[in-house]
């Protein structure tokens, strides 16, 4: 019984020794903090931070090329943890959500030509900015949907993309993917939005799309003074810092481009915002 035990453990010991030597010869230096940060991160490798995956971002944080709050996906807790690993502190950030600033589906928006090329917005946008008559219309070919690592973008039957807020992590990948720059990150608790990006004058905008913002200023004028919604260059902008939670504001809009998505809105609209 002794011989086999000795033989086997001898082989094991020799291999172990060899490996130990090899490990020294081929040692790769890694910062242990990088591994700890990688572990703390969500691990979705979505690329929302601008680096190639969570490991790359962790390395950048350790090197000082990225700030610890650079990961847009993880929660505040994780950001603090990441910061503490490299001995920094982070400021609190209000949770955000992506929003597609267009609701011009095929049912309401006119088209200027028939597009039959590659099913990608970026390709369509190369052909005179896309097939929508509106120069700032959603092309509906799903570049944002493909870019989203969390399945938070759905394509509506009318050919417009919609964000599912419950799934959105505000990583910003869809913002970068949209060739028409129609997607913005907005505060998650905001309840009122201008879902249009068209800067054309009223008549031109109306001709291109039935739900376009015409720049009529009805919303702006509803404020006695210090308006929270301002019209600049024929498009309404919301001051998300102080916008009131008021469904009546949306009712003022003649085209429906000003949309209320708060608690008082019908449930179906809230979930499909």
């Amino acid at each position: 019984m002794l011989v086999p035990t000795v033989v086997l453990s001898g082989i094991g010991l020799l291999s172990g020794l060899g490996l130990a030597l090899a490990a020294r010869a081929f040692a790769v230096e890694t910062d242990p903090r990088q591994d700890r940060i990688t572990e703390a991160l969500p691990g979705a490798n979505c690329g929302g931070c601008g680096f190639a995956g969570c490991g790359d971002f962790a390395g950048a944080v350790v090197r000082g090329d990225a700030t610890p709050d650079g990961c847009p996906v993880c929660d505040q807790e994780t950001r603090r943890l990441v910061a503490s690993i490299v001995g920094l502190t982070v400021q609190d950030r209000a949770p955000q959500v992506a929003l597609i600033l267009c609701q011009g589906g095929d049912d309401v928006a006119a088209k200027k030509y028939r597009y039959n090329g590659l099913a990608s917005c970026a390709s369509a946008a190369l052909l005179g900015g896309g097939d929508k008559a509106c120069g700032a219309g959603c092309l509906g070919l799903g570049d944002c949907q493909r870019a989203c690592a969390f399945g938070a973008v759905e394509m509506m039957p009318s050919g417009v993309a919609r964000i599912i807020p419950a799934r959105c992590t505000a990583c910003g990948q869809c913002v970068a993917a949209c060739p028409k720059d129609l997607i913005k990150l907005v505060p998650a608790e905001a309840t009122i939005h201008v879902l249009c990006s068209n800067h054309d004058r009223g008549p031109a905008a109306k001709k291109a799309c039935a739900v376009a913002c015409l720049g009529c200023k009805k919303c702006e004028k509803s404020f006695a003074e210090d308006p929270r919604i301002k019209v600049a260059d024929f498009l309404a902008y919301i001051d998300y810092e102080h916008v009131p939670d008021d469904p009546a504001l949306a009712a003022l809009c003649p085209t429906g481009s000003l949309v209320y998505r708060g608690a008082a809105a019908p449930a179906a609209e809230r979930t499909s915002s």
Partner: protein, 453 residues
């Protein structure tokens, strides 16, 4: 010499026998500020201003930039983003004509190009807003200013006009042969070269004969009748066909000592110096089965498309597509309000049944596109890769060497939208390259910072 690849589309040069006719004065012109490759100029006029013919409407910003000029006298109605043939609305000056066509007092005096230095000639050409009239609209004075380290010894005059349907260059060579040759001499003087080649496709022997007869004794030009094959008029292929030099991938003609200029550009350069007249008109072919009276028109830059079509008898009811330029590389229009610009060599009106509106099928790997590609690329593989969004692999296939001539899509039996894939692929691949370069720079910066510390 013959280049490999290329295609033989139906040429339809039906308008070759029609004399150039000057378009009557219109009541309204829309002059885009950006009609050239490079930085758009700075607008000099405002709403309500009175302008005279040939008066500059913008001034160049930087070296790769040229001004645009008023096509007639009148009042500026608006300066705004208006429909542009390239697709997106761009800044343009709309002029309401006063019908007087009063010339501008500030015009440069006529001069003799044989007595001017090349720097003076270059300045005059830039001030006149001359751009390449073959369609690429690259500012001509830039092309005529090769950097000192690039020795240019050959000027090539491009009279190939390989695009089907177009006959504007052909008519210019026939009717303004003397001016073309004198313009060639002028450009040779600017470049300081003693040798020039004139390349013309074999379907226009009369043009070659006209130019040969009109050649002044002090202009040393060689005349070559080239095979009629698309894209014979592409710079790289024309250079190879005429002198056997190969432009390296990613390089310019001046890398092999050549400069290529279009025949229309030669005339524009001559007019800019000899008469002091800025470039406010060009010759464009209005043709196609869906136009009632095809024309070779001398049209002022900024003339709205609808007025041009109306002058040619209007379009037939079955019109399906209107293209600026030729059918191979031209740009389909979707707004009839666009103006003709300096690069518009033709307006092609196709019938609905002619206009190719195919749903692209799957690649059947027949290899026809590989045979047809004049750049020796593999369009089939590149198309499949682009279709699957794997743009980072396109660099291995040299996608940036694609000249978007459309030969591959023309021969494809599956009607695949190959050129469109490559346009997207080139844009994406350039972005990837930029990203890599930025990353490498960051890395180098970090390392140098670490080395200092």
């Amino acid at each position: 010499m013959k280049f490999s690849g290329g295609v033989h589309p139906a040429y339809h040069k039906d308008t070759a026998g029609l004399q150039i006719e000057a378009m009557p004065l219109l009541h309204r012109y829309v002059v885009p500020i950006a009609q050239h490759l490079g930085a758009p100029g700075k607008v000099l006029v405002a709403k309500g201003d009175r302008v005279a013919r040939w008066q500059p409407l913008s001034e160049p910003v930087g070296f790769v930039s040229v001004p645009v000029h008023a096509p007639t006298s009148g009042t500026v109605k608006q300066v705004a983003a208006l429909p542009h043939p390239l697709g997106r609305p761009m800044l343009a000056v709309e002029i309401e004509s006063d019908g007087e066509d009063r010339p501008w007092e500030g015009l440069a005096p006529p001069a003799d190009w044989r007595r001017l230095e090349s720097a003076e000639l270059r300045r005059a050409i830039q001030a006149a807003g001359v751009v390449g009239m073959g369609g690429a609209t690259f500012p001509t004075h830039v092309k005529l200013s090769p950097p000192a380290e690039k020795k240019v010894d050959l000027l090539i005059l491009n009279g190939a006009e390989c695009e089907p349907y177009l006959t504007a260059d052909h008519r210019v060579m026939l009717e303004q042969a003397a001016e073309v040759m004198e313009g060639l001499g002028l450009m040779m003087r600017v470049l300081g070269v003693t040798r020039a080649c004139v390349g013309i496709e074999s379907n226009k022997p009369d043009a070659l004969e006209a130019l040969r007869r009109a050649c002044p004794p002090d202009v040393a030009a060689e005349f070559t009748l080239l095979e009629t094959k698309y894209p014979q008029g592409s710079e790289k292929h024309l250079i190879y066909a005429l002198c056997g030099r190969r432009v390296p991938p990613g390089g310019l003609p001046m890398d092999v000592g050549c400069v290529v200029q279009n025949v229309g550009t030669a005339v524009a350069c001559l007019e800019a110096v000899r008469d002091g007249l800025p470039m406010t008109e060009r010759v464009a072919t209005v043709t196609g089965a869906a136009i009632n009276v095809p024309h070779n028109l001398r049209v002022r830059v900024g003339a709205p498309l609808l007025d041009v079509l109306a002058h040619c008898g209007g379009v037939t009811p079955d019109v399906g597509k209107v293209i600026f330029g030729g059918p191979m590389m031209g740009i389909g229009q979707f707004d009839m309000d666009v103006p003709l610009i300096k690069g518009t060599s033709g307006v092609l009106c196709l019938r609905d049944d002619e206009a190719a509106r195919f749903e692209g099928g799957p690649c059947i790997r027949c290899g026809a596109c590989v045979d047809a590609c004049p750049m020796g690329l593999v369009p089939s593989a590149m198309g499949l890769i682009a279709e699957r969004f794997r743009f980072e692999e396109l660099g291995d296939w040299h996608v940036l060497d694609c000249i978007e001539c459309g030969s591959c899509a023309y021969v494809c039996p599956s009607r695949r939208p190959l050129v469109q894939h490559f346009k997207r692929g080139k844009a994406e691949w350039r972005e990837i390259l930029d990203g890599r370069r930025a990353k490498a720079e960051r890395e180098a910066e970090r390392q140098s910072a670490a080395a200092k510390a």
